[in-house]
């Protein structure tokens, strides 16, 4: 699975993107966040307050209980500020 990070989430984690092999038990966005938090202190800090973060699966914004699979592209970012 490819995971991308943007804005201050990227700054805090220190990665633009990363590849992980998804454990089949990690089958929702919420479970993925819990899984990533265990990865490093930076992940844990960046994703600590999930209410500040939005998630896109295959470039569609989804909620936390959205189901995911290994082929999906995931992105984590704060609310968008375009225009």
């Amino acid at each position: 699975m490819n995971i991308k990070y943007f804005s201050w989430v990227r700054d805090q984690i220190g990665l633009d993107e990363e590849q992980i092999e998804l454990d089949p038990k990690v089958n929702s966005v919420e479970k993925l966040v819990s899984h990533l938090i265990k990865n490093s202190e930076d992940h844990s800090k960046a994703l600590a307050d999930i209410s500040l973060i939005r998630c896109a699966v295959n470039m569609e914004v989804v909620n936390l209980n959205h189901k995911i699979k290994n082929e999906d592209e995931i992105a984590f970012f704060p609310p968008m500020t375009g225009g």
Binding site: F6, M59, A75, P79, T81, G82
Partner: protein
């Protein structure tokens, strides 16, 4: 038409393109600029980061939506990314129609939508330091009114 680019754009060129069709009776434009902000905490630059594949997809989608809701002859969205300075153009939305209301309302809809649904993030370099621009709750409420 959608363009996501680093380079500046020429409003006159876009105006000419939207004027080519002789059925066009009105054109509406919105152009967003980087604000220096004359408060004490002056803005020196703004760096726009984006999620390229998602940006194209979302902008395409919203342009189709505007064309469904209003009777448009032409539409264009140009959004820049990279490092910009006060006075620089960030975004252009242009719509053309036979009658003014379609152009004016769709233009407002598109820019309201871009504010909260286009995957861009702005890093401001101010007098006090660097800071990511936070969500503007007013913008989030405004976009809800279009549903």
């Amino acid at each position: 038409m959608i363009k996501v680019q680093k380079e500046d754009f020429d409003v006159n060129k876009e105006l000419k393109k939207l004027s080519e069709n002789k059925n066009v009776g009105g054109i509406s434009f919105f152009i967003g600029l980087v604000r220096e902000d004359l408060s004490k905490d002056k803005c020196h630059s703004m760096t726009l980061q984006h999620y390229p594949e998602m940006t194209e997809k979302m902008l395409d989608k919203i342009e189709i939506e505007a064309n469904k809701r209003w009777n448009l002859i032409g539409s264009i969205i140009i959004h820049r990314y990279g490092k910009l300075y006060p006075g620089d153009q960030i975004v252009l939305v242009g719509t053309s129609s036979e009658h003014r209301k379609d152009a004016i309302n769709s233009c407002e809809f598109l820019i309201d939508w871009l504010k909260t649904k286009a995957p861009f993030w702005k890093l401001e370099e101010r007098e006090s330091g660097k800071k990511w621009v936070e969500e503007n709750f007013k913008d989030s409420e405004t976009v809800k009114n279009w549903k």
